[in-house]
Subunit: 389 residues, 2 copies
């Protein structure tokens, strides 16, 4: 069933994506990585964005740990880890949003997702090496994340009392994912309660039954705000990513048929709502009532959304056996592989217009690095192998 | 030469654009304006963004003052002025970035362009009424702008020492424009030196002769930074807008043939560089070396860019008589009028994809209000009448 796909995904991971980053991302002079890589791998900006940096540490660690392991991948992960632990934090231990090529602080630590990816990077390194230093780094970042959750932007928060506050899907999704990563890599049960409560909140509060959509922002008391752009915002890629995190947790640790059924239903509805019936592909942002979207790029097709959609379909198919998910997988696979891969220079384009044509030649940038695509390819091969058995 | 165009521009201003905003933007219940207006004028978000609010005050003031004057326009401008003076400022007199529908502070005063548009709004009101209150409001905002120039983002600035600092074209462009507005509306010569020095810096430092482009950001010492995305950033719409501000100043106050010639050359080069040879229209953002752009929406076609391009061509044609500017005017006019106007509900779409299709149905939003389009139509009719004589 997946035999033809499996070879394609494995080959893309091992022969195209990994070599591209191995060959181009390492800053041999100053440490850390280049992530602003043009179509051919040349560097077009040397700023070191913390999310992008730590995701490379995480991903090479995860790959070293995988069935495809190669010794040099640990070295690449460690090379970034050392640079980032040394240069990445302010005096309070918070990770900057960006440092410059030499490691000097460039953009203030206003974004706590930097901590998330640092925690994931440290945890992956620990699982490769069982060295306490990495575990400490992971827990340190994780605890800083939790400590900052109630005031994530700190002094850089521009919201005043007249601005509606929301609970954000991204926050709960990340909490579930981080807890799961710590569980996988550090073997700790310490965050089980966080995972369980995040799952509960996501499934019961963010899902709107009558509209058939999962919202990005809900009111503090759990209701929906249909009168504002922020309140109506949908992010189908986020939802699909969050849903496979949940399915992975149910699959690996704690099977719950009722919840699996609900997640499967949410994936189907999200794909139906988010799929572009004219040009194919999944929209980046949407408005729940189809009113104008604040984001100019709402109708673009992004690589990561399609990577997460593929994993959501494969997990849902594995856990439910529902043929509809296989059909969705084939449909998304076909559109994705017809539009994103760059057959000449390897790796994938990140940004397509609504019609499916690349608007940017870049392979990496401020928001694209060695993360969603290799993770998708790695996890997809695993799921396919499990389902072939 | 412009006879057929003139009627079209006048009619669009008086029968389509002004009525759309008169009918839909006034918040009769709480004061101020709605600017998030959907295709048919219905309100899809009630946040009151300071730039958008003050621009309406300015524009209705300017129109009341114009050859098309109608009495009710002063009332509309005043209605917003009163609400914004009462609710728009913090205890230090800085204008918030946004307030909510009721007037409660929503987003902190992190952006000093709020002050610019407040200054323009107050000045326009003064020129309508000759009432000191408005002059005070204008000078107050203007002086706050100047006071905050060296640290414009204040506590919300996320830049740290490792981030390259730049001088921004927007800043000098705004200084020239503000000085000119104060001169026009308050009759003051106080800012003549600011205007002259801004013109000097823009023409000598931001223009790169060998690449034939005007940069958005230059190094503090005046050089160009070709190694980073920020350093290579171009904004053709900004350049064209800045250039007609300069031509207007030369035309109204201080004719300087050498500078007019340089500005005309910059307009030509900017149009050649910024025009999309495949689909027509002018790009939103560009990279001076055609490397990947940080902004996902770089290739979109925005209404304001085309409005400013039309004025740049008309001013340049008026001041130089060079046929090339008439030809550019005709070409830009044709593309603009074929793609932006909404013949069914009036007003113009703001955001088109590269191919020229609307991606958003909105007529107003967080960044589109009653400003660029009516100003373009009003000034264009004036320039056309002057040239018909």
């Amino acid at each position: 069933m997946f035999k033809n796909y499996l070879g394609k995904y494995e080959n893309e991971l091992l022969e195209s994506v990994i070599p591209f980053w191995e060959n181009h991302c390492i800053d041999k002079e100053f440490g850390g990585y280049f992530t602003s890589l043009d179509r051919d791998g040349s560097v077009y900006d040397s700023t070191k964005y913390m999310w992008m940096q730590w995701r490379i540490v995480y991903m090479f660690g995860e790959l070293y740990n995988s069935e495809y392991s190669r010794g040099e991948w640990l070295g690449i992960a460690q090379y970034g880890f050392d640079f980032l632990r040394k240069n990445g934090r302010d005096k309070d231990g918070r990770y900057y949003f960006a440092i410059n090529r030499q490691g000097k602080p460039a953009i203030a630590p206003y974004n706590i997702y930097s901590e998330c990816f640092a925690a994931m990077g440290g945890a992956a390194m620990y699982s490769c090496t069982k060295t306490e230093l990495y575990k400490e780094a992971a827990l340190d970042a994780m605890n800083n994340y939790i400590k900052r959750i109630d005031n994530p932007k700190g002094q850089w928060d521009k919201s005043l009392p007249g601005k509606q506050r929301y609970q954000a899907l991204g926050h709960y999704m990340m909490l579930a994912n981080l807890g799961l990563t710590m569980k996988d890599f550090l073997g700790t049960d310490e965050y089980d309660h966080d995972i369980e409560s995040a799952i509960e909140i996501v499934l019961s509060k963010f899902w709107n039954e009558s509209l058939g959509v999962m919202f990005e922002n809900i009111l503090p008391d759990g209701g929906f705000d249909l009168d504002s752009c922020d309140g109506r915002m949908l992010n189908p890629g986020h939802v699909l990513e969050a849903m496979w995190f949940l399915l992975k947790y149910f699959d690996d640790y704690s099977r719950d048929e009722a919840k699996i059924e609900k997640v499967a239903m949410i994936i189907k509805k999200t794909l139906e709502f988010g799929w572009d019936k004219t040009h194919g592909g999944i929209y980046y942002f949407m408005d729940a009532l189809h009113k104008p979207h604040l984001e100019l790029q709402w109708d673009m097709k992004l690589w990561w959304v399609h990577c997460e959609a593929i994993l959501a379909c494969l997990y849902a198919y594995k856990l439910t056996g529902d043929q509809e998910f296989y059909d969705w997988f084939e449909k998304i696979h076909a559109w994705t592989w017809a539009h994103f891969p760059d057959s000449e220079y390897g790796e994938w384009y990140g940004y397509l217009n609504r019609q499916g044509e690349p608007t940017h030649a870049l392979k990496g940038g401020k928001w694209k690095t060695f993360f969603h695509l290799p993770r998708c390819l790695l996890y997809a091969t695993r799921l396919m192998k499990q389902m072939e058995k």
